[in-house]
């Protein structure tokens, strides 16, 4: 019997995912048989120390990188095995990105950056999308900044423009890679609140990679990776709980020894 992502209520999932860099003695196993799903409409945090494989997992799920073995789906589309062109079109139409830094094209103004996914697709936003864009720009407080270029915007404003762009097409999943990493704590909280709102009020599925327990505490679900494996999968946690868990993992030498989920 075939079970689709939709049946499972998942926006994206991976199965037995392995990613190895290098060969022979110098080979590094970044992902080691990971099976996980991102639930639709939820704000999921993917945590773990540096080198735990969290970024690699995000890259494979978002169609930016190919796994060594295993399968990945975005919605009901299997993305492992797609060509570069197919993956590119898929990212353009069905994935949103918010990166840590260098999110915006410096030569385009804020509006140009927000509309980039539509422009790359060679189309104008439909009336429905137009309305969503207007609402987004308004909610994100960008109305008076649309004509500004990235270098004229603060870090927090740049990140909000990136969020507007990521949400503009109502993608299957928005992937956020350390979205608060370069921000002061106030702008950081603002960005996290906006992401949480998008998920809660508009059912946007979001997967956020972070190593900051405070950032992860805004999420509905916290997945912890260690040494390329899922070390924990927990519902909403407080920052203290997450920090305590991570610390325990650090002290015992390996997060995977602490599987308690």
């Amino acid at each position: 019997m075939h079970i689709s992502s939709t049946d499972l209520g998942l926006a994206a999932r991976v199965q037995q995912l392995t990613k190895t860099y290098g060969t022979g003695d110098s080979a590094v196993r970044a992902l080691d048989g990971v099976t996980i799903g991102i639930r639709r409409g939820e704000f999921t945090a993917i945590m773990g120390p540096s080198g735990s494989g969290k970024s690699t997992l995000m890259h494979v799920m978002a169609g930016l990188d190919a796994p060594t073995s295993g399968r990945a789906w975005l919605g009901d589309t299997e993305i492992t095995g797609l060509t570069d062109l197919e993956l590119t079109i898929l990212r353009r139409r069905r994935v949103g990105f918010v990166f840590q830094a260098f999110n915006l094209v410096p030569t385009l103004d804020a509006l140009g950056n927000i509309l980039l996914p539509f422009d790359l697709d060679g189309r104008r936003p439909s009336a429905l999308e137009r309305a969503r864009l207007d609402r987004l720009v308004d909610t994100l407080g960008l109305t008076s900044r649309l004509g500004h270029r990235p270098h004229q915007l603060s870090g927090g404003q740049q990140q909000r423009v990136a969020i507007a762009r990521a949400l503009a097409t109502a993608p299957d999943v928005v992937f956020a890679d350390e979205p608060t990493g370069n921000l002061d704590s106030r702008s950081g909280r603002e960005v996290l609140r906006l992401l949480a709102d998008a998920s809660r009020e508009h059912g946007q599925s979001i997967a956020m990679v972070t190593h900051d327990p405070v950032a992860a505490s805004h999420a509905d679900r916290v997945i912890v990776l260690g040494d390329g494996r899922i070390a924990a999968d927990k519902p909403r946690q407080s920052a203290e709980e997450i920090a305590a868990f991570l610390l325990a993992g650090e002290l015992s030498g390996s997060a995977s020894a602490q599987v308690t989920a």
Binding site: H59, L64, T88, R92, F102, P106, G112, L120
Partner: protein, 489 residues
């Protein structure tokens, strides 16, 4: 060793980590050597040809020792080599400025551990001198060989026996030395940015400088406008004078040199509006806008690069239009038909001059290829971002091609307009007093600018070819950018 002594050592030897000469492998250095070599070889060949022609003239019993002709030949050589060296200087300064923009982090790190900005800049200038000397020597050797072969072949073909001309003369060193020194100066001029690098830029959190505003160089802009105005006035005076007598062309010539120097100096005033206009013609698609905005990201770099091509196109077009207009007037004044020997002489002269000035265009083209390549190399992160957001590989290709086309079309259009204007001004000032129609009473003639079809077609085709060639390497580099890798940088 005290900290001070250590800092001083670091000052003197800022790049001890890399073996001497390793910088030559850096992207951009090869092109600078090529540019120096082309201009040096060009200079050497022209000096040889001038010397050879003078020797032939001296040996000719009918022409004898024609001082005037020899002077004209040397004068032309100086002008032609001067233009080539000037364009080469612009290209080199631009290349160094671009290379240094890419080295910012490395320079910042050295500043952080105590190297002074001045020492860093001197290091860059030293590299410029090395590049200049290597290129000039290569050009000297190649140029001498070509000249020797050319003289031998010429002597054989022309059947001249009583002319002995030794190619290897001390004068050949003159263009080579000039090129080496110009490259040195250009590297120094292009390295101004080193002084603005702060040690803070070595730290990861430093804000990325994404846009270069045109530095306001009021002094240079005023000089450029003044030169253009004075040159324009002289040009007009030459044209008016030419209505009475042919020597008006001398006044117009001076005006032409002055106004053209003004244009070259004022590249950053002239080119950005042209680039903006051409960019708009590309339309509103994402790829077109990305390409159009890229050319204006560093307006100074793009303008200087384009002006090199503009100079080449202008000079070629100018000779073509001037000769064609002259033929038209002479044909009319001869009563409808130009003597065929005269037509041949004029056409040959035009062809030779066009080939000679085209060398400057070739040098500018090398610079253009280099600028586009470095532009892609230094934009890896941005390309990675765009690929992540859904820019396909074919779209990347289109962006790079349009970017090249943007610069070349802007330069071509500007060069054609200027070339027609200067060519007409030359013909008008020379021939304004020649009666256009023998049946009418003598009076001032208005020369109609005649634009010859073939040379213009060749210029357009060459520019199109340049666009395609210029896009090859940057396209290869740009499509190889993997989003994950580039974003991790």
């Amino acid at each position: 060793m005290s900290a001070l002594a250590l800092a001083e050592r670091t000052d003197r030897m800022p790049r001890t980590a890399a073996p001497r000469g390793a910088f030559l492998r850096e992207r951009g250095m090869g092109a600078s050597i090529l540019v120096a070599a082309i201009s040096s070889a060009f200079g050497v060949i022209l000096v040889s040809v001038t010397g050879y022609l003078a020797a032939i003239l001296r040996a000719d019993p009918y022409i004898g020792d024609s001082g005037t002709l020899a002077f004209v030949l040397s004068f032309l050589t100086v002008i032609l080599v001067g233009v080539a060296v000037y364009v080469a200087g612009i290209v080199t300064a631009n290349t160094f400025a671009t290379v240094i923009a890419g080295r910012t982090r490395q320079i910042a790190l050295l500043r952080l551990i105590g190297a002074s900005a001045r020492a860093q800049r001197q290091e860059v200038a030293r590299q410029g001198l090395a590049v200049g000397v290597i290129g000039a020597l290569a050009g000297l050797i190649v140029g001498t060989v070509v000249a020797a072969v050319g003289v031998a072949v010429g002597t054989e073909l022309l059947g001249i026996e009583d002319v002995s001309y030794g190619v290897v003369t001390p004068e050949l060193l003159v263009p080579a030395v000039i090129v080496a020194l110009t490259t040195w100066v250009a590297a120094w001029a292009g390295s101004r940015r080193v002084l603005t690098v702060t040690p803070m830029q070595a730290l990861g959190s430093a804000v990325e400088a994404t846009r270069d505003e045109v530095t306001r160089r009021t002094g240079r802009n005023i000089t450029s406008v003044a030169l253009f105005a004075a040159g324009g006035a002289l040009l007009a005076a030459g044209i008016v004078l030419g209505l009475v007598s042919p020597p008006g062309v001398a006044v117009a010539f001076l005006g032409g040199i002055l106004s053209f120097t003004g244009i070259a100096l004022g590249a950053t005033l002239l080119m950005p509006p042209v680039l903006r206009l051409i960019g708009r013609l590309f339309g509103g698609s994402a790829t077109a806008r990305l390409a159009a905005e890229n050319a204006l990201r560093y307006p100074e770099r793009s303008s200087r690069m384009a002006i090199g091509v503009v100079m080449g196109v202008t000079l070629v077009t100018m000779f073509a239009v001037a000769i064609e207009s002259t033929k038209a007037v002479l044909t009319a004044s001869a009563g409808g038909e130009l003597p065929s020997e005269m037509a041949t002489v004029l056409d040959t002269f035009a062809a030779v001059m066009m080939v000679l000035v085209a060398i400057s265009a070739v040098i500018a083209a090398v610079g253009l290829v280099n600028l586009l390549t470095l532009g892609v190399v230094q934009r890896r992160r941005e390309l990675g971002l765009l690929r992540a957001l859904g820019l396909t590989a074919p779209q990347v290709r289109r962006v790079v091609l349009l970017e090249a086309a943007h610069l070349t079309i802007a330069a071509l259009a500007t060069g054609l307009v200027l070339g027609v204007a200067y060519g007409w001004a030359g013909a008008q000032s020379l021939l304004g007093s020649v009666p256009g129609d023998p049946s009418l009473p003598a009076g001032p003639t208005l020369v109609w600018p005649a634009v010859p079809f073939l040379p213009v077609l060749i210029v357009v085709a060459a520019t199109a070819a340049l666009t395609l060639i210029a896009a090859v390497t940057p396209t290869r580099l740009a499509t190889r950018v993997a989003p994950v890798e580039a974003l991790a940088e």
